[in-house]
Amino acid sequence: MAYENKNPILQARELSKSFYYPEPLDIFKNVSLDLHLGQSIAIMGASGEGKSTLLHILGTLERPNEGNITIAGQPVTPSKAAFLRNLHIGFVFQAFNLLEDYSAIQNVLMPALIGQKPIHKGSSAHQRAQELLSLVGLDSRSHFMTKLLSGGEKQRVALARALCNDPEIILADEPTGNLDSETSEKVHHLLFDLTRKFHKALVIVTHDKELAKLCNQVFYLKKGKLEQQQ
């Protein structure tokens, strides 16, 4: 692959995750993964194989029992995790996970606010948020409270939010799982178009083979092992 000679933006080495409650259970063991800018990876597998857990570990939301992760050349430590997440990672969830008491643009601007950037009207963050909402086709609804939006619109807001801080990595967990097929297709295209446009690295956890086919690489998580589909 053309990525092999370049430094990965995210490097996971020998990741293992086990749960001990209610009874000991190894989710996966010795999983390693390199993610490069412009690369898209799909992770597939049966339910309960640990796809979402792996995605959360890659996104520093959860800690592995063993192994380590490096993001943009910096090793992830508990004290740095939130900072690296804010700066380098954007999440897109199946359930959209928008803040319901905020408008669409306030949701999009939230990562910038957390990153202590100015978000007032006219600031670069605000301009970017408006641009992103325009790209996802929601510029006319930027001041709508998100609870008033449809499922497809919510996911588009989530997509714009994931890109707000201009992170290098987009992690999507079943991004269209809660949408009808027509809307799903639109969101798929939008997700890929935007990640390509902005040259992002994309990891998608999905059951959708059609969506997986759009990625450069497809991995299967099965019986605790991550294997690439040839």
């Binding site: 939301l61 900072f83 969830f93 996970n97 990562p111 606010l113 957390i114 990153g115 202590q116 939010r161």
Partner: protein
């Protein structure tokens, strides 16, 4: 902090779907506001009352006192006067020491030899004897940081006050000889300090009864004074202008010459064996029957009738007797007020009060009466004061340059200013008496009596033993001085020190003490601030205990009120678990998540404090209305004037405000800690997965 603050504010806004959190939040705010309001109002009022009490407690004393220690009385410097002819073989007071020319009056060539155990003098390095009083006095003004101090000698002696009250105790309409009652009390006699700026507010104004009594006393013939009647009365009329009179309760004599010739007045004649003894003319016709009834209760035979002139004779006509000529005296009764003007010329030949002539004008039963009248059977009703430099008034007065003065050595004796309780017991300005004290002489102790008279009254406030402290001119206390070996801490001689701000007294005390130590005078002098005075110390300690106790109670109430914040925030954390997960997925650290909920506690506390403070300010502004309501609800005065003054203090106490706001903020922050920790522990992967 912008992120945390904006999220915290968003969380605190009441929302319909967060009804339970909103209700608890509202209750928390109301309860904390209520407590803040209560504490600020209570502490402000108590601080105001305390300030007033403190001022009253020290009103009689300077805020600082410097008194000689035992070492001073045992020193060569003090003892040497007793054996020196130059000092008349008597020990000197502080004031006398200050004025003494020689530090060491002992003359070995003239005075007898000093005994072997006589103390040795405290010397300077250059061999000169230390002047303990003058150097101590100068040290006061060297105290660091206190350049506006003023010092005066003070002296408190004691004596037995005997006051004679000569009062007309006869029942209304009857004239009996005045009766004498005696007020007797062992009292502290304190030198009057005209540097005491609070004295103006302590002095009680003279009443018309005071002036009437003083005039009565001045009119009495006194054996001990050679002053003529005129000379005794001139200072009175130099300073007082009598504006109106009121008829005395026994009735005031109305000369027939003043009876309006063409008018008919209704009166009550007093008959004895069919002959008219007196005719009373009530001020209004409505009072005629009651006057007749009163006379009949005394066993007299009253007869109601009309008075009128007919052919130059004054006739009394009644149903019983158509017309009898009136030869007897006419008396006006019923408190009729007459405008009066003193005819000063009448004083020149006057030998008694009834020789003084006044021009009067008034109305009886609606008929005008006007003319010249002698001063008999009248009480002074209204006066105005006159400025005169010809003589000194008989009462305590303010000298334009030298401050307040108590008159001394005049025709009535030495002027004394009595505490209010004496006035409550019937004493008036001008009442005379004696102060008896003992004087050591060659033949033993001898009882001396000093003639005194009442020259004014003051309100000692809450000062313990205040009712026993009599103020006099320093010359009088010097006269009463005995030896100072009494165990009574009130009695003694020392230096009063005044400073502009009462509350600076404890600091000034330390500064003076240091200055004394620096000059090696601390073994001779003791410095006390008002909080240390023997009489006031228990009260100040009690005030301090009360304040500490209430502050503790206030703190406990605040903690209980703020504990509501914990419940509210824990509910809020549970409610916001998903949002916390979302925020963490966007890069919010655990610490910053905790900070959001900590801020929620702080904002609740701050907002409640603000609300409570505003309510407290409004309450204090309209405190009098609240007090009126309390009075109405209780059916009696809620705050007794003797303790709280005529009005409750209503200025906002910045100390109380500072304490309450600081306590609320600290407790609110502490209350936010547990929910903040709980929020920080939320695992985003779990809350996001659960969706």
């Amino acid at each position: 902090m912008r992120f945390e603050l904006s999220v915290a504010l968003k969380y605190l806004l009441p929302k319909r779907r967060q009804l339970s959190v909103s209700i608890i939040s509202l209750v928390s705010i109301l309860v904390i506001s209520l407590v803040v309001w209560l504490v600020v109002v209570f502490l402000s009022v108590t601080e105001g009352i305390e300030k007033k009490w403190v001022e009253e407690l020290v009103a009689l004393n300077a805020p600082l006192r410097m008194t000689p220690k035992d070492a001073y009385y045992h020193s060569y410097y003090y003892q040497i006067d007793g054996v020196s002819a130059d000092s008349n073989y008597s020990n000197k007071s502080i004031g006398e020491k200050l004025q003494a020319i020689a530090t060491n009056p002992y003359d070995p060539s003239f005075d007898s030899e000093l005994p072997q155990d006589f103390p040795t003098p405290d010397m300077h390095q250059d061999g000169s004897i230390k002047d303990l009083v003058k150097e101590g006095w100068e040290t006061i003004f060297k105290a660091d940081g206190f350049s506006h101090l003023s010092a005066h000698e003070y002296e408190v002696a004691f004596g037995n006050l005997k006051l004679e009250l000569i009062r007309n105790t006869s029942p209304p309409l009857l004239s009996e000889s005045p009766k004498e009652t005696i007020l007797n009390q062992v009292s502290y006699i304190a030198s009057f300090e005209n540097a005491n700026k609070r004295l103006t507010s302590m002095l009680l104004p003279m009443s018309s009864a005071d002036y009437s009594n003083l005039l009565e006393m001045l009119g009495k013939k006194r054996e001990e004074t050679s002053l003529s009647f005129q000379n005794r009365l001139i200072p009175f009329f130099d300073h007082i202008n009598i504006e109106t009179f009121e008829t005395a309760k026994e009735g005031s004599l109305l000369p027939k010459s003043l009876y309006p010739k063409s008018a008919t007045l209704r009166g009550v004649a007093l008959l004895h064996q069919g002959k008219i003894l007196k005719v009373y003319i009530p001020e209004s016709i409505e009072k005629v029957d009651s006057t007749a009834h009163l006379l009949s209760t005394y066993g007299y035979e009253p007869l109601i009738g009309d008075l009128h002139f007919e052919e130059g004779s004054l006739l009394f006509s009644s149903l019983k007797d158509p017309a009898s000529e009136v030869d007897s005296a006419l008396f006006i009764v019923g408190g009729v007020e007459f405008a009066a003007k003193f005819l000063r010329d009448s004083l020149q030949s006057a030998k008694k009060l009834s020789d003084l002539q006044f021009e009067i004008a008034g109305k009886i039963q609606g008929i005008p009466i006007q003319g010249t009248l002698p001063f008999k059977g009248f009480n002074i009703k209204r006066v105005s004061s006159l400025e005169s430099s010809q003589s000194a008034p008989y009462w305590i007065h303010k000298h334009a340059e030298k401050g307040f003065f108590i008159p001394f050595q005049n025709s009535l004796g030495e002027g004394i200013v009595l505490p209010k309780s004496y006035r409550d017991n019937g004493a008036h300005l001008g009442d005379q008496g004696t102060i008896s004290y003992t004087r050591e002489s060659a033949s033993g102790f001898q009882e001396m009596r000093l003639p005194i008279y009442v020259a004014g009254f003051y309100d000692p406030g809450l000062m313990p033993a205040g009712n026993r402290i009599i103020l006099t001119d320093p010359k009088v206390t010097a006269l009463l001085r005995t030896n100072y070996s009494f165990s009574d801490g009130m009695i003694g001689n020392g230096i009063s020190i005044w400073l502009p701000q009462l509350q600076d007294a404890p600091k000034a005390k330390v500064a003076i003490q240091k200055a004394l130590e620096k000059n090696n005078l601390d073994k001779y002098w003791k410095v006390e601030s008002f909080a240390d005075y023997e009489l006031t110390q228990p009260i100040f300690q009690q005030l301090q205990s009360d304040k500490t106790l209430f502050t503790l109670i206030a703190l406990i109430i605040l903690i209980v009120a703020c504990s509501n914040i914990i419940s509210m925030l824990i509910l809020l954390v549970n409610d916001k678990r998903k949002e916390v997960g979302i925020l963490q997925s966007m890069g919010a650290s655990k610490f910053r998540i905790g900070l959001i909920f900590g801020m929620c506690g702080l904002i609740t506390g701050l907002f409640s404090s603000l609300l409570g403070t505003l309510s407290a300010i409004l309450t204090l502004k309209y405190l009098h209305s609240l007090v009126s309501l309390l009075n109405f609800l209780q059916g009696h005065e809620a705050f007794h004037q003797a303790f709280y003054g005529s009005e409750l203090p209503n200025s906002l106490s910045l100390n109380a405000l500072g304490f309450v706001i600081a306590a609320t903020i600290v407790i609110s922050i502490l209350a936010g800690v547990i929910p903040a920790i709980k929020a920080a522990r939320i695992q985003p992967s779990q809350t996001l997965r659960s969706e």
